[in-house]
């Protein structure tokens, strides 16, 4: 049985199609990532699932049963951490959490235990009696989370919980979500930060313009684009391939070439020729998919192969090209997004 099943959901705001034939199935125990740029329809999907928004078409089942606004029995099994902070500025930390807990749990003693646990979970023990306005942004986010998870629901939905959060709090939040998952909750996590999604999600859906573009595990998605590795190599003493103006290269590599610089620039080989040669060499290597030169930066992507980087560096050395820093990384979800949409998904 799926925890959530959405079929062919369509939601329009007047002319704007915010969610476009969207389908989704989430299994128990997953941390399901919904990744998409701002405005791609993540929040709208969530609000349709939760029956806050009307929708034009589609079926939504939760825990195997059709969802409707008055299915309070189903709502009781869900926790929601909304994108916008939603806590009472007039109530302190403990009161806020208790209020939201009371929307699910009647028994006072049990509630007290749950509230304590939630406070401990998000690490707000020292701030129990603080009103939100006395808390920093990161701490308010944590309170916002505590209010959503206090009743220990089976399904927890986090809508961009780390927006405008300092790196330290962000890591604490991500770890917390993993702990909740280990404790038995299924998690939906929406974000436009690909690293976060990659870091914690067991399955990821990439969406844009209200459409589900691709779904799968991190490695499944990356297999989609056929990239295994991407490299960036800073070259010294190069100009644009065939470029008339040789100053572009030296500017970009300032400080790398050192005292050799003047001599090289005056050498018999023009910088443009040198770079063209380098590109040719690299492109000729067996696993190189693409190679581009941006200023003095050589970008290379490779499809497969065990020692691509050493092959490339060897080729450069053979051509007598000096290089500075070298980056090598496995493909990112940005590459996937780029591959599918033709545009960058930037943090």
């Amino acid at each position: 049985m799926d925890i959530i099943e959405v079929k062919d959901l369509v939601k329009r705001y007047r002319e704007l199609v915010a969610v476009d034939n969207f389908s989704l199935a989430i299994k128990p125990g997953e941390i399901f990532g919904l990744l998409g740029p701002n405005g791609s329809g993540k929040t709208t999907v969530i609000n349709c699932i939760l029956q806050l928004l009307t929708y034009d078409r589609g079926e939504i089942c939760l825990f195997g049963e059709p969802m409707s606004p008055s299915r309070y029995d189903l709502k009781r099994r869900i926790g929601i951490v909304p994108q916008n902070i939603a806590v009472f500025s007039q109530l302190n930390v403990a009161e806020n959490i208790d209020y939201f807990c009371s929307l699910y749990v009647d028994d006072r003693a049990r509630r007290r235990a749950l509230v304590d646990e939630a406070i401990e979970f998000v690490g707000l023990e020292d701030y129990r009696r603080f009103r939100p306005r006395k808390l920093s942004g990161g701490l308010i986010r944590r309170l916002n989370i505590a209010c959503g998870i206090v009743h220990q629901p089976e399904l927890i939905i986090f809508d961009e919980p780390t927006v405008a959060v300092d790196p330290q709090s962000r890591n604490a939040i991500l770890e917390g979500i993993q702990r909740l998952n280990e404790r038995g909750s299924t998690v939906i996590y929406t974000s436009h930060y690909m690293q976060e999604v990659e870091q914690i999600c067991t399955r990821i859906m990439i969406m844009d313009h209200g459409q589900a573009l691709a779904t799968g595990t991190n490695s499944e998605l990356k297999a989609l684009v056929g990239i295994n590795e991407r490299m960036e190599i800073e070259l010294a003493e190069l100009g644009e391939p065939g470029g008339a103006d040789g100053s572009g290269g030296p500017d970009g590599t300032a400080g790398l070439g050192g005292p050799d610089r003047a001599g090289e620039a005056d050498g018999f080989m023009r910088p443009g020729d040198k770079s063209a040669a380098a590109l040719r060499l690299v492109r000729a290597l067996p696993h190189v998919a693409t190679a581009q030169l941006e200023g003095s930066l050589l970008r290379v992507t490779c499809s497969a192969g065990a020692h691509n980087l050493s092959d490339i560096l060897g080729a450069l050395q053979k051509a007598g090209i000096l290089y500075g820093r070298v980056f090598s990384e496995p493909p990112t979800l940005n590459d996937v997004f780029l591959e599918i949409t033709g545009k960058e998904l930037r943090d």
Partner: protein, 422 residues
């Protein structure tokens, strides 16, 4: 449910803006009016009227006359001098009636007693008296005005003279009635209850004469302030719905995702807003009633009922406004504007607004009927001015209908849980 109630109370009480509007503002307004009317009252207050009274054998024999004079003079009727059963109970009734109006101890007359009419004329010529009263041999009091004052165009003096004439007229009518009764039905006269009923009459006259205009003006203001503060309690209903309703705030959206039906959480939310409103207006009421000593016709329990019903109307109206889908920020201002405009017709802003309100009430009664502020004001007004409860019941019924309408509207607006957009 109780938890929701409790937290709603906490949230509302800790909202300084709401508290400011709901509690402080009406109290400040009432205090302002009070200091204003305190001046007014002293200007208009009638000093006891200096009159000469010829205290001869006719005076002593006129039944009930000397107690009347004593009463008007604010001195206790000397026991035994002329104490028929009837006049004694007159004094008693007066005390009960006028105590409410703070007229106890307020004297209408400052009598100077002389032995005969000649002495009275001499004293009138010499001193600063309005006139003298002499009882003729048929027991009828006659009032001789100082001719200089009689022709005076000073309205205050004219009012004073007419007050005395009025009191004497009333005495004459009653004593003739009694005399007539004695001839036609002597049996009735021996019945103590008939006597006390009859003799209660002069009491009413005195009360009317003494407290007539200036205090009633002040009452209008205080009733209007109270009506205004009742309707201002919209702000509690409004704020409560502000964090309750999904399309109004993120908090409301979050609340509506909880595992409780809308009615389950709406009931304690509105109840909290209502009870807080009620407490606030009761504070205002007690302040006006006991700190400023403003009369509510001795019908305080009925006043509490008015307060309870009108705050219910206000809370529900505020809830309806709060549920309306217009941008949230300006709503508090809008409630204040609504309350202020409606209060024009309850006469909150002085004579012009009172006249306008009365004009509308008389000529466009439908408009007054749908104006809750005017209705609340009318409720207090009718409690004070009418002995019966018919007019009051009518107002209460109107307010109850309003509450019912707003309740239905509120429920219709609140049961909606899904929105086209948030």
């Amino acid at each position: 449910m109780f938890t929701t109630f409790l937290y709603t109370v906490k949230v509302l009480v800790r909202d300084r803006n709401v508290l400011m509007w709901a509690v402080a503002f009406p109290l400040i307004l009432a205090t302002l009016f009070y200091s204003m009317f305190n001046n007014l009252d002293t200007t208009y207050e009638l000093d006891p009227l200096p009159v000469i009274i010829v205290q001869d054998s006719n005076y002593d024999q006129a039944p009930g006359f000397s107690p009347l004079i004593n009463d008007l003079a604010g001195t206790d009727s000397p026991a035994g001098t002329d104490g028929t059963a009837g006049t004694d109970s007159t004094a008693g009734t007066n005390g009960a009636n006028s105590g409410e109006n703070s007229t106890a101890g307020q004297a209408l007359l400052a009598p100077t007693f002389v032995a005969d009419p000649e002495a009275a004329q001499a004293a009138l010529a010499a001193g600063d008296y309005l006139g003298y009263i002499v009882v003729d041999d048929q027991g009828r009091p006659n009032y001789y005005m100082d001719s200089r004052r009689a022709s005076s165009i000073d309205t205050l003096a004219a009012v004073k003279q007419s007050i005395i004439l009025n009191a004497l007229d009333r005495y004459l009518q009653d004593s003739q009635l009694l005399a007539g009764l004695a001839q036609t039905d002597p049996q009735l006269l021996s019945d103590a209850s008939t006597l006390s009923t009859l003799s209660a009459q002069p009491g009413l006259v005195q009360r009317g004469a003494i407290t007539a205009n200036p205090p009633s003006d002040a009452l209008r203001y205080f009733y209007a302030v109270l009506a205004f503060s009742c309707i201002m309690m919209m702000s509690f209903g409004l704020s409560a719905i502000d964090f309750w309703k999904a399309n109004v705030s993120a908090l409301g959206a979050r609340r509506s995702l909880g595992g409780r039906s809308w009615a389950w959480s709406l009931a304690p939310t509105l109840l909290a807003a209502w009870l807080l409103s009620l407490i606030c207006v009761i504070v205002g009421f007690l302040y006006i009633r006991y700190v400023f000593g403003i009369s509510f016709g001795g019908k305080e329990p009925a006043c509490l009922a008015v307060l309870a019903l009108s705050t219910l109307v206000a809370t529900l109206l505020g809830a309806v406004l709060g549920a309306m889908p217009f941008p949230g920020g300006g709503k508090a201002g809008i409630t204040a504007v609504i309350a202020c405009v409606l209060s024009v017709f309850a006469g909150l802003y002085g004579p012009a607004s009172q006249q306008l309100g009365d004009y509308v009430a008389n000529n466009l009664p439908a408009l007054s009927t749908i104006n809750p502020v005017r209705q609340i004001y009318d409720a207090f007004f009718s409690l004070y001015y009418y002995d019966g409860y018919e007019r009051f019941a009518q107002v209460i019924l109107t307010l109850a209908v309003m509450a019912a309408i707003f309740f239905v509207l509120a429920v219709l607006l609140m049961r909606k849980q899904r929105y086209k957009s948030l």
